[in-house]
């Protein structure tokens, strides 16, 4: 049967079991949107293409499925760029579809033309410009395959308007075979054996785990390994939820704003077992001072992550879940870690995470109360900056895919549209966006999207009147010269919420936090909670830039 390119695209998306897509129409997408008009695929019209990309990203992180977003040529496509780069840095499976001008006009500086495959080349796992409708079905099949397998990432398909209108015989390929793309899943048995030996004889081992645990679904295997061998576990920002923080072996997050005990454990460790993490500079601090006595086992599906930042003794390329389950079987006797755990226990007792518990409304308290009133069952999306770090530190994560945050790229404006995507993927979940008064304004237009689609996302603005994280650095390292970090002229967020048709609640007193949160949870639609918090509260502990990670400030109780 003959079909147009537009129809082929939508049919193929259905074959890939796409239930929802996020996007914004435009001139060169008219044929496609005409087909979409009759399609059962749920289409979420965001109010900015960046919102569509982040929503697709949030949907993907919460569900593990491929997120799909769509935008028109030129400015539509360039507006997706931040969202695609965000997904790329955090290995999020995404397929982004962009309209393109007619094939014969490409390169002519046509109206709304941009070299989108050129622009997105360094921020996609792969991209395609479809020049012939006959290639379209195969390209879509490949795109979904590449996005979701190996180390996941965004794949972009640039689709000219004339290709959408051309007809060809449609047959969706059953299988993909790309001669140059065959990710490695099984770890090298010899390497796993060597790793097991090293673990058995270690005295001060630490498991350092990242987003790879969550992506590969290795949380059970990680728990088995940690408990069998009594090895403490620290997670990266993106690894939160991969190991329950209620577990005695949990050290919480490490790095620049990690716990004192996680950072000390890493620095004094004799064996770091890194799984699905990449020794990012926010984790290692000063690299030449990092974990001087430790041997390193590094398990990652992406070979480029191995030995990129630090020297690795036993690299193992492959899937975290498969490798951990084999590793557990290979370990004959657990290492003796009693003395090590005792030492860590002392650090935990001496330097817990803390903040000043007085009568003032402090942002950390808000995060704690979100945890309390939701009984720890919420999915937390965050913006970027202080709000993100407090959300990471003071909520207790126990389940994978419950912390949704832009780690690698650090994209302000990510959290709210991502929360919209999360809510669509997990309709029954309680979804919070922990926001700052700066970040929320970067994509506040998506309030319409939440209202129109009746999505009960709760936005908790930790409103301190500053671009807080930059202000904190100015306070500590630039003599309190607050250059352009004071957010004068913030709007009245309650009125903004109301103008969009959402509910706004302002909270000025600590005593009112809990009741406001409870009230918000009872409301079926989106709610903006405007918490007027202490203005100059800082995120502690903190490793100053360029320092070793055990040289923390603000870490002692």
């Amino acid at each position: 049967m003959k079909m147009t390119g537009a129809k082929i695209l939508i049919e193929s998306l259905r074959k890939e079991k796409v239930e929802v897509m996020f996007g914004y129409p435009g001139g060169v997408l008219l044929p496609l949107f005409d087909v979409l008009y009759d399609s059962p695929i749920k289409f979420i019209l965001t109010r900015h293409e960046q919102g569509a990309a982040h929503a697709a990203d949030g949907y993907a992180r919460a569900t593990g499925k491929v997120g799909v977003c769509i935008a028109t040529s030129g400015p539509g496509a360039t507006n997706l760029v931040t969202g695609i780069a965000t997904a790329y840095m955090d290995s999020v499976p995404m397929v982004a579809i962009t309209g393109q001008v007619k094939t014969h006009l490409i390169g002519n500086d046509a109206f709304q033309e941009a070299d989108v495959t050129g622009i997105t080349r360094p921020i996609t796992k792969h991209n395609y410009l479809v020049k012939d409708v006959k290639d379209l079905a195969k390209i879509i099949k490949e795109a979904f395959h590449i996005a979701a397998t190996g180390r996941p990432g965004p794949v972009l398909i640039d689709l000219p308007v004339d290709v959408q209108m051309q007809e060809t015989k449609y047959q969706y390929p059953k299988e993909v075979s790309i001669r140059s793309y065959k990710p490695t899943y099984r770890g090298h048995p010899g390497q796993i054996k060597r790793a097991a030996k090293l673990i058995e004889t270690s005295k001060r081992p630490v498991l350092y785990t990242g987003g790879g645990i969550i992506i590969s679904g290795a949380h059970k295997e990680l728990k088995i390994l940690a408990e069998k061998c009594k090895i403490p576990v620290t997670t990266t920002l993106l690894g939160l939820g991969g190991f329950p923080e209620t577990n005695k072996l949990s050290l919480g997050m490490l790095g620049m704003h990690g716990t004192v005990y996680a950072n000390h454990s890493i620095m004094e460790s004799d064996l770091i077992i890194a799984v699905g993490a990449r020794f990012d500079d926010r984790v290692t601090g000063r690299i030449d001072a990092f974990a001087p006595e430790a041997k390193v086992i590094h398990i990652d599906i992406d070979p480029t992550s191995l030995s990129k930042n630090i020297r690795v003794d036993i690299p193992i390329v492959g899937d975290a879940r498969m490798i951990l389950s084999e590793l557990v079987q290979r370990i004959r006797k657990a290492p003796e870690t009693a003395a090590w755990l005792k030492r860590i226990g002392e650090w935990k007792k001496r330097s817990p995470l803390f903040y000043k518990r007085d009568n003032k409304l402090r942002p950390q308290y808000v995060v704690e109360m979100i945890h309390e009133v939701t009984k720890g069952k919420a999915i937390i999306a965050t913006e970027v900056g202080q709000n993100q770090m407090w959300a990471a530190q003071h909520y207790i994560y126990t389940t994978p895919r419950t912390f949704i945050s832009s780690g690698g790229l650090g994209t302000m404006g990510y959290g709210f549209p991502a929360a919209i995507g999360v809510q669509l993927g997990k309709p029954k979940a309680i979804v919070f966006d922990v926001a700052g008064d700066g970040s929320i304004q970067m994509n506040i237009q998506e309030l319409t999207t939440a209202v129109v689609n009746k999505l009960p996302v709760k936005i908790a603005i930790l409103n301190n009147g500053y671009l807080g994280m930059v202000r904190q650095w100015q306070e500590l390292f630039y003599k309190k010269r607050y250059a352009h970090t004071t957010l004068e002229g913030n709007p009245d967020f309650v009125k903004v919420a109301e103008a969009y048709g959402a509910v706004g609640i302002r909270v000025k007193k600590k005593a009112d936090v809990k009741s406001a949160l409870k009230k918000a949870l009872k409301i079926k639609g989106p709610v903006v909670l405007d918490f007027i918090v202490e203005g100059e509260e800082n995120v502690f502990p903190m490793v100053p830039a360029g320092e070793a990670i055990n040289r923390m400030i603000g870490g002692m109780a």
Binding site: P122, K125, S180, Y181
Partner: protein, 161 residues
């Protein structure tokens, strides 16, 4: 340390941009890059000569492998190979130098006179890196006006025969 990589890639538009972009984005240096179709028209071969320590080279190879359109990478730094480069070199000559320059060119295997002008003489040369460099040095005293080089291409030595 200089390294030579022979990289098989899909013969599609955008692949060269992808490879070149990777080098610039990650701060790797390229000394030369030569691209051409192979015996299979769907595959191109890139011969990349670069400079970097062991760790950089390791990253270069891994990062290249990560590109979907890269099919296979041969690290020629680790095996024996034959390499050739084609060079055109234009030398300024006076009538009294002409004979000497032609003598030099005749004495070097792989070099020949491609064009003789009023005040210049153009030499073409094909050879490995040592030969190409040697020829440049031999001709330098006469005054080199212009050099055009293709960049190195290389092929592993087939021990199986």
């Amino acid at each position: 340390m200089k390294y030579t990589l022979s990289v098989l890639v899909e013969n599609k538009s955008g692949v060269l941009a992808h490879v070149a972009g990777l080098f610039s984005a990650r701060g790797f240096n390229i000394d030369s890059l030569a691209v051409g179709e192979t015996e299979d028209p769907s595959i191109s071969r890139m011969t990349i000569v670069g400079e970097g320590d062991e760790r950089t080279m390791d990253q270069v190879k891994k990062q290249l492998n990560k590109l979907i359109d890269v099919i296979k990478i041969y690290d020629l730094s680790r095996i024996q190979f034959i390499d050739r480069e084609l060079m055109l070199i234009r030398v300024v000559i006076t009538p009294k130098d002409r004979e000497r320059v032609i003598d030099i060119v005749d004495s070097v295997r792989g070099a020949s006179v491609a064009d003789v002008g009023d005040q210049t003489l153009t030499v073409e040369a094909t050879g490995d890196q040592t030969m190409v460099h040697a020829l440049i040095e031999l001709l330098r005293p006469f005054g080199i006006k212009e050099i055009v080089r293709t960049g190195k291409i290389a092929m592993a030595i087939n021990n199986k025969k």
